[in-house]
């Protein structure tokens, strides 16, 4: 067995699909892909029972490399496709992989409603705060004052706090990790996949090719270091002042509640409908 074949990710990759992948050297998306594979491996899920659904953008390309039931859908709509798939095949673990523009701009409405319904899906949002594939336009998570190709004088729109939005909408499980803290990310994704209802993992990443270059934020390594230095665990954040915390990426499980998932609720609808039909027939 070659070293490659011994790698824990080997069995989860599609060898008929020609690598290399579409991502720039140094991109954080591959780290999220690795974390996802390690989480699935850790949970010992059957590959036939996992579906990966993505939208459009750099992150949207992730599923094609992995050997599961994979679906690369339209921009922003991945959660809606995944909703139909999950309702048709409740047995499948349906994991939805989106970028920040995909999930929160064009797909913002679907994001809110999947969380509100507590649809039994796991969403992973790779947040690199930019539209990378189209060349660096500002996204709904681009920080204020940073420049982008469509914000040449600096961005004036405040960013959406991804996790907090999902909590407000009703998600059962919300966590935030970063591509620097890869081992922690494995664990957060594994927790999310096991959760009943809607679970979200925000994976904070970076784009050195667009956002980094335009704003002179350095190499991929430099941007990774910035994420490392700017992030704190939830318990550390709780000891900080509100003002200090605002400037930090807070990592950890932000919400974890027991709430019946949509599938369990709809099973009740089916039961009621059948019971009513039987009583009318009787």
């Amino acid at each position: 067995m070659s070293r490659l074949e011994q790698h824990s990710a080997y069995n989860y990759l599609r060898h008929t699909k020609k690598f290399p992948n579409v991502w720039c050297a140094g991109c954080g998306i591959g780290i999220v892909m690795g974390a996802l594979i390690r989480a699935i491996d850790h949970l010992e899920l059957d590959q036939n029972d996992v579906a990966l659904v993505s939208g459009i953008g750099c992150t949207g390309r992730m599923p094609v490399y992995m050997d599961f039931n994979t679906m690369h859908t339209t921009h922003g709509r991945a959660l809606a496709f995944a909703t139909g798939l999950k309702l048709a095949q409740p047995r499948l673990k349906v994991i939805v992989i989106m970028g920040d523009g995909d999930a929160l701009a064009i797909g913002g409405n679907h994001f809110l409603h999947a969380a509100r319904r507590n649809m039994d899906l796991t969403a992973i949002v790779v947040n690199n705060a930019i539209y990378g594939m189209t060349g660096g336009q500002y996204s709904p998570t681009t920080p204020i004052d940073l420049r982008a190709t469509t914000a040449p004088y600096g961005n004036v729109e405040p960013p959406i706090p991804v996790g907090e939005l999902a909590i407000a909408a009703g998600a059962a499980f919300v966590a935030r990790g970063t591509v620097y803290h890869a081992v922690e990310l494995d664990r957060l994704i594994a927790q999310a996949i096991q959760k009943e209802g809607f679970s979200l993992v925000e994976a904070v990443s970076y784009c050195h090719t667009t956002l980094g270059r335009i704003n002179k934020l350095g190499t991929a390594g430099d941007m990774m270091n910035t994420i490392k230095n700017n992030s704190v665990t939830l318990s550390a954040a709780e000891k900080m002042s509100e003002e200090d915390r605002q400037a930090k990426i807070v990592r950890g499980v932000l919400r974890d509640v027991e709430r019946p998932g949509y599938l369990r609720l709809y099973d009740q609808v089916i039961e009621r409908a059948i019971a009513q039909e039987a009583s009318h027939a009787g």
Binding site: N48, F68, H72, T74, A80, T83, L87, Q89, H113, E277
Partner: protein
């Protein structure tokens, strides 16, 4: 058989159930909402699922997702919602996913007049989503036919792995007629061609004798890739010109080579007719009356009712055009399918009869066109 006074929209819902539909996702919109209401009540009784999505974009996405999961799926809408569905309708074409979209046409553009009848979405049904693509669109003329054509729409979608549009108009959607609904077990159902090779041999978009590749459902053990990008026989994105060209040719060919089965028409007195009325949807009802009146006045008039609007019955209309002097095309729009008729009419003169104010076309208007010199 169950004898009922049934509404057109209700007949669509019942036809869907009879065809084996077990998933509906939709968003409320006049004048199609009854389809959703009936299915929200009926589907769970059969173990099926209904969901009211956040918009029509999501509805279209959800039915495609459910179909890839193995359930026969549909949505229903009207003009504004149909516009929103165009994006993912293209995805269904590209991924060859069976599904049915009912559009109960209302007067547009924009919000227009939600409770008024129209046939204004004929060209949108054909070319609404971007890019070159084939499409099937069926248009019933009565409540019983709304049931039958809904079943046909599901059968075509499964057989040819394509979205099928059910183009009703507000008149057919909301009118009530006597209908002897058949028992569901007596309804002929077509199922998608399944896979009978081991997973390692499966090519989800490979060549097949019929040009329609067998379809594995997610969860069946065939792990494959579905994408809206042009893809190779394995389903993986491709930029190779030969693979893109092969896809385009095959997907158009799978419809074109089956026109005889797909194009459904009804002929009435076409033999020896000097004037032929070509109509579809609710307008057929006015045309029938006009033809009857014209025959009483000894005009040689025939009526060709198009139940399949797309693909257009071009061979049949061209053949008729060789033997008649004029073709009358009444439509509740400013002339959409008339463009197709004119394209193949040869030397026969095409007379358009158009009304786009939300009213039905009166038989008298068609009669005048038949009699005009």
């Amino acid at each position: 058989m169950t004898l009922k006074l049934m509404q057109g929209n209700e007949a669509v819902a019942m036809g869907a159930l009879a065809a084996g539909c077990r998933f509906y996702a939709g968003y409320p919109i006049t004048p199609s909402t009854e389809i959703a209401e009936v299915l929200s009540r009926q589907l769970p009784k059969l173990g099926g699922k209904f969901i009211q999505m956040e918009d029509e974009i999501a509805s279209m996405a959800a039915i495609i997702g459910a179909s890839i999961g193995g359930l026969k799926s549909m949505t229903a809408t009207s003009g504004p919602g149909f516009s929103l569905m165009q994006e993912n309708l293209g995805y269904a074409v590209m991924t060859e996913t069976p599904c049915v979209v009912a559009n109960v046409q209302r007067l547009g553009p924009s919000t227009g007049q939600p409770t008024s009848a129209s046939q204004g979405d004929v060209m949108q049904a054909r070319w609404g989503t971007h890019g070159d693509h084939p499409i099937i669109a069926l248009s019933p003329t009565s409540v019983p036919q709304a049931f039958d054509l809904t079943v046909t729409a599901f059968n075509f979608s499964e057989k040819y792995r394509t979205p099928v549009i059910l183009l009703l108009d507000e008149v057919i959607g909301h009118m009530r007629e006597r209908f002897d609904m058949p028992d569901f077990e007596n309804v002929q159902r077509v199922e998608r061609l399944g896979v009978n090779v081991p997973p390692e041999w499966y090519k989800p978009y490979g060549d097949s004798v019929s040009d329609v590749p067998p379809m594995a459902n997610f969860g069946d053990g065939y792990r494959y890739h579905v994408t809206g990008l042009f893809h190779d026989p394995m389903g993986y994105p491709t930029q190779r010109l030969d693979e893109i060209e092969a896809w385009i040719q095959r997907v158009n060919r799978k419809i074109e080579r089956n026109l005889d089965e797909i194009i459904l028409t009804e002929a009435d007195g076409l033999e020896g007719a000097q004037t032929v009325v070509v109509a579809y949807g609710a307008t057929v009802r006015s045309a029938r009356h006009a033809v009857k009146l014209a025959r009483q006045r000894r005009h040689k008039v025939g009526l060709l009712s198009l139940l399949t609007i797309w693909p257009f019955a071009e061979a049949e209309v061209a053949r008729l055009a060789q033997n008649c002097r004029r073709i009358v095309v009444p439509e509740m729009n400013l002339g959409q399918l008339a463009l197709e008729v004119e394209r193949v009419a040869g030397r026969s003169k095409v007379r358009r009869v158009n009304l786009a104010n939300g009213e039905m076309i009166h038989p008298q208007m068609i009669l005048e066109a038949i009699e005009a010199h």
